[in-house]
């Protein structure tokens, strides 16, 4: 197992929103031991839209959970902005999530007892902070749900719910937004809306988005796709298109995940 580098690396450069160094995650022990992440190192640039792809069991969700501070790695190190996650107490980790990270989950993103607006401002309300009104207005106008702000989640469609979730993730201007299969439960039209919105938030609002998906179409919205197989990064594609991603994914089916890519990924 690869150990983290001895010398404490300098804080990530200004261009890096989150970074993993030799990240390893092992579940179970002995015969039932499963290596979900095997010494993964990667840097996620600020102001970019990164997709993490891979077949089931490739470790893509685990990578995202570890990067987002939801899960603890067995070894290795994670930084969000300038903060190293290892050794943070639960309360500090919680505050880091609250202030530096935005989340969009596949389903169940909203608190049913709160209105759309209350859901959007929830992280700031929990922190007892006033949201930046100008920013909030911009975010709300971008998701285009201003007339529905007073509605409860049960009165919104699935796509609208996910857009509200995206707005919540954006509202506190976090260092990075993690989206876990954000379109997994949506029809294609709603899915496209949400993906387009995430794209917009990178292009127009200058946010950083990291999205786990298994849908090549969804990945094509990203600036960069990291492919995971058997707990390792097997490929890294810039400026993906649906077809290119689809091609790359197909190779997992043919060759299995055991073979890391031996040639550079195709790309523009």
């Amino acid at each position: 197992m690869t150990a983290a580098p001895d010398q404490q690396p300098a804080a990530p450069a200004g261009g890096i929103a989150a970074r993993a160094e030799a990240l390893t995650k092992v579940y179970g022990s002995g015969d039932t031991q499963v290596v979900a992440l095997d010494a993964v190192s990667c840097s996620l640039e600020r102001g970019r839209y990164t997709a993490i792809m891979g077949p089931s069991g490739s470790g893509k969700s685990t990578l995202m959970h570890c990067l987002a501070g939801l899960d603890e790695a067995t070894s290795g190190q994670v930084w969000i902005g300038d903060t190293a996650l290892a050794g943070l107490k639960d309360n500090d980790l919680t505050k880091l999530r609250r202030d530096q990270v935005g989340f969009v989950f596949q389903a169940f993103n909203l608190i049913p007892t709160l209105t759309a607006l209350e859901n959007i401002t929830l992280p700031m309300d929990i922190a007892g902070r006033k949201p930046d009104q100008a920013w909030l207005d911009r975010v709300i106008d971008t998701i285009g749900l201003r007339p529905r702000l007073g509605h409860r989640p049960s009165e919104l469609s699935g796509g609208q719910q996910q857009r509200v979730a995206c707005a919540r993730a954006l509202a506190s201007q976090p260092a990075v937004i993690f989206a876990d299969e954000p379109t997994g439960n949506l029809d294609s039209a709603s899915g496209a809306e949400v993906l387009g919105f995430l794209r917009q938030s990178v292009d127009e609002l200058g946010q950083t988005v990291v999205m786990v998906t298994h849908d090549p179409g969804a990945a094509s919205y990203a600036d960069r796709v990291i492919f995971l197989g058997d707990g390792r990064i097997v490929d890294d594609m810039a400026d993906p298109t649906t077809d290119l991603v689809h091609e790359r994914m197909k190779r997992f089916d043919v060759t299995g995940a055991d073979h890391p890519a031996t040639h550079p990924a195709a790309g523009a």
Partner: protein, 841 residues
């Protein structure tokens, strides 16, 4: 299906355990009550079977007085010789047994259990006829000697050879203790103290001459009890009641059973309240379990289980919970009975160890109650479970079909209105069982409000939650939102707490009103500065009033009698006084006739006169223990609370053969003398009479207030159980809600809620639910309390007093209950692993 049921029980052990606990506590109360009263009954019954007496002769009085009140019916002494002369009588002995013979230790403490009688008896060591047996010393002989029971000796810390003060209804004595004896097998007569004199001494001292309280006879071999009783009866003629030993025992036992059944009913009422509260909790728990298992039950339906099988599966679970609850309750009930016995032992009533009576009835009732309550409460959720459509297995957005809240609102209002009507009718004394009607009415009101409660919970909880939202921001908003979310759940959890607190508020209001009314009555009626009274309301010697009268500065010292008698078929206490002295210390308002006429006959209060159909000039027959006498009504006065009923001239009462003793002495200082200045002299004058107490008017009010408060404290303590069960309910609801909201909690944690904030959120939800229950409870309790007070105006509770302090305390306690109930669920919520919570299905 059986397997599925059992697996489910296993999977939800903890949650079911909580609801089983609610059953356990209620059943334990029931079982404990039965075991305790059965045990008490057996112990007392043993007391009556200590002798081999074949025939018992007692005075043939017109009635048996409820209160001993110093009036001891007795037989003429020559009857003993008559009994002895009857053919077939082997031996016969007369005995004396009179209450009000008190042992007083050096520190002026009265020996014996508070509230238990203090008997003076004649000594007999005839083992076949007397339950007394010497442990130490010898039998008393002469004026100057007594023997006392072991318990009294222990308590007084005296030995054979010591002297001790003895206060009798007549004179006070200071005899020497020459013997210490046991009473029967248990050693003690249920907490009563026993002072034995030589028979002739007892007769002279306690019965005023050669008389007996009873005569016990033993038959010659071959003569049956029945035969002997007939012969004795024939020999004595009228004026004596002759019973076989067996009959006498049965009669005593029957009286005892009646007394015990009162204790039994009193305790069972609280057990019932506890079980009633438990029903809400079981209903809620099963509703939540069914809701959480919607998909699973739908799957069972999808793979071919019928509706009935689903219902049976849920009911099966409740049956197991009921059996576990019943058994647990039975065991805990035994513990409770042991505890009650220890309590009685502390009060001086020894119940021999190792003899708890567990009647089959107790076991059957405990199990039946446990099972019926649980299965009955689970019936509605089970019915609902059967209506889950199989398609729910495939989709996760199908909620259980719910009936509209409008139906509930209407049903609840109708039930509550019916209950209120029954309550009002009951309080107005309608029907053969008005008290039962009041109970059923209150029950219906509770159920009605509980059914109605979901319809009003959202606005009311919103209102109560407003300060929570303002004070705690996002956490407060979430907490209040959670409390408003599932209206049925919040409502039934709060209803459980509502019941206990409503009863506390109602009883509190009644108690405060009673105290205030008594204060007002005392202010109006009693013009005396001091009152002399025996704390156990036993009569005392007229020497007391005489001694007080001699104190410098005392203007008047008036003794007043209270004597039991029968009037118009019911037993009453008749006040005996002389109009002249009495009017200087108490004031009655006359509506007809004159107060002075009492010296020639009687006066009666307005209410009683109306009820008995009596007017001035009528003649009323009063049956004293000694026999009937007629008196002419000379006046009608306005009754004031306890100052009511028939009043007869004192000399007439004494002339009718009643002992000349005082029940209360009113003392008034001379005009111009400061009442407080004569107190030390009064205290000194009362030194020789340790059984009476001197109290000022203010202290007297305080004493009455203390007695009421003591009773209230007992009732509150018993209602505490209902509150404890309600707390279990809140814990259960919160714990199940936390499980149900696992993903939501995960989300909150993911977007930045700290563990502390999460705990606070659960705590605040709990407090909001508890306070909602308390607000409902206080509102209902006040309504009940005010209704009760209005209904009891005629009984002297004419002033309405609302105990605001108590109500505020109830609210504060409810908030603490909320905090306390949330401890465990909040910890559970905070411990949820964030990742697992967000990714959970």
């Amino acid at each position: 299906m059986l397997k599925a049921t059992l697996r489910n029980l296993g999977a939800h052990k903890l949650r079911l355990l909580m609801s089983a606990l609610a059953v356990v506590l209620g059943v334990a109360f029931v079982a404990g009550t039965f075991v305790f009263t059965d045990t008490l009954g057996k112990t007392f019954n043993e007391l009556f079977t200590q002798t081999e007496t074949d025939v018992v002769v007692t005075p043939d009085s017109a009635f048996t007085p409820n209160q001993t009140a110093g009036v001891a019916p007795s037989l003429p002494g020559e009857m003993l010789a008559q009994v002895r002369a009857v053919d077939g009588v082997k031996r016969a002995e007369g005995n004396v047994l009179v209450d009000g013979v008190t042992l007083v230790d050096d520190e002026d403490n009265v020996i014996g259990s508070p509230g238990a009688p203090h008997y003076g008896v004649s000594w007999s060591d005839d083992a076949a006829l007397s339950p007394l047996s010497l442990v130490e010393g010898r039998a008393p002989a002469g004026d100057d000697e007594i023997a006392i029971d072991t318990q009294a000796a222990k308590q007084a810390g005296v030995e054979v050879g010591d002297s001790i003060r003895v206060v009798t209804p007549g004179p006070s004595l200071e005899p020497k203790i020459v013997g210490i004896f046991r009473y029967g097998a248990t050693g003690n007569l249920a907490g009563a103290s026993l002072t034995a004199f030589e028979p002739e001494v007892a007769q002279a001292l306690l019965l005023g001459g050669d008389r007996w309280s009873a005569i016990d006879a033993l038959a010659e071999p071959g003569v049956t009890q029945q035969t002997l009783a007939e012969r004795v009866s024939a020999a004595l003629g009228d004026g004596a009641k002759v019973q076989t030993g067996e009959e006498a025992q049965d009669e005593a036992a029957a009286q005892l059973t009646q007394a015990l059944s009162f204790i039994n009913t009193f305790l069972l009422v609280f057990a019932f309240i506890a079980l009633f509260v438990g029903c809400f909790i079981i209903l809620n728990t099963f509703s939540m379990l069914v809701a959480q298992r919607t998909r699973e039950l739908a799957l069972l339906r999808a793979i071919g289980a019928s509706r009935r099988q689903v219902t049976r599966s849920v009911l099966g679970e409740s049956l197991v919970v009921g059996i576990v609850g019943g058994l647990g309750g039975l065991l805990l009930g035994l513990g409770l009975a042991v505890g009650l016995r220890a309590l009685f032992a502390a009060l001086g009533i020894e119940i021999p160890a190792g003899s708890l009576v567990i009647a089959p009835r107790t076991i059957i009732v405990a199990m039946v109650v446990g099972i019926v309550v649980t299965v009955g409460s689970a019936y509605f959720p089970a019915r609902r479970a059967a209506h889950i459509p199989p398609v729910a297995a495939m989709r996760d957005d199908i909620a259980l079909p719910t009936r509209s809240l409008h139906v509930r609102a209407v049903a609840g209002t109708v039930l509550a209105a019916l209950g209120a009507a029954a309550l009002a009718l009951g309080l107005a004394g309608a029907g053969p069982q008005p008290l039962a009607l009041v109970g059923v009415g209150a029950l219906l009101v509770f159920v009605g409000v509980a059914v109605l409660s979901p319809s009003i919970s959202r606005p009311v909880v919103g209102l109560l939650g407003a300060p929570v939202r303002r004070l705690w921001g996002a956490v407060g908003v979430l907490a209040v939102g959670n409390a408003q979310r599932n209206r049925r759940r919040t409502a039934s959890t709060a209803s459980a707490l509502m019941i206990g607190l409503a009863l506390v508020a109602a009883i509190g209001t009644l108690g405060a009103s009673t105290t205030a009314s008594t204060d007002a009555t005392i202010d109006r009626v009693i013009g005396a500065d001091y009152i002399v009274l025996n704390p156990g309301f036993q009569p005392f010697s007229t020497e007391v009033a005489a001694a007080v009268a001699e104190v410098d500065g005392v203007g008047s010292s008036v003794g007043i009698m209270q004597t039991p008698a029968l009037v118009k078929g019911s037993q009453v206490l008749i006040t005996g006084l002389e109009s002249g002295p009495a009017s200087s210390v108490v004031s009655f308002e006359l509506v007809d006739g004159t107060f002075e006429s009492v010296d020639e006959g009687m006066v009666v209060d307005e209410e009683t006169a109306k009820a008995d159909g009596v007017a001035v000039g009528d003649t009323v027959e009063v049956t004293w223990l000694s026999g009937p006498q007629s008196y002419e009504v000379g006046g009608i006065y306005v009754g004031e609370g306890t100052f009511s009923g028939y009043v007869v001239g004192r000399s007439l009462v004494v002339a009718a053969g009643n002992p000349d003793v005082d029940f209360i002495v009113y003392v008034k200082a001379q005009e111009g003398v400061d009442p407080t200045s004569i107190r030390p002299d009064l205290e000194a004058a009362l030194e020789p009479f340790p059984t009476v107490e001197l109290t000022s008017q203010a202290e007297f009010k305080e004493q009455i207030r203390g007695q009421i408060n003591q009773l209230l404290a007992l009732v509150y303590a018993l209602l505490g159980l209902a509150v404890v069960i309600a707390i279990l309910g809140i814990i259960n609801t919160l714990a199940l809600s936390v499980i149900e909201r696992t993903r939501e909690i995960g989300l909150l944690r993911a977007v930045g809620m700290t563990r502390g904030q999460l705990r606070r959120m659960v705590r605040l939800e709990s407090v909001v639910i508890a306070v909602y229950g308390a607000v409902l409870g206080i509102a209902l309790g006040l309504a009940f309390g005010v209704t009760l007070q209005r209904a009891l105006v005629d009984q002297g509770i004419e002033v309405l007093s609302i105990p605001w302090g108590l109500l505020a305390a109830v609210l504060v306690v409810a908030a603490f209950v909320g905090v306390f109930a949330a401890v465990w669920p909040a910890r559970r919520a905070a411990r949820l692993d964030v990742l697992r919570a967000v990714t959970t299905e």
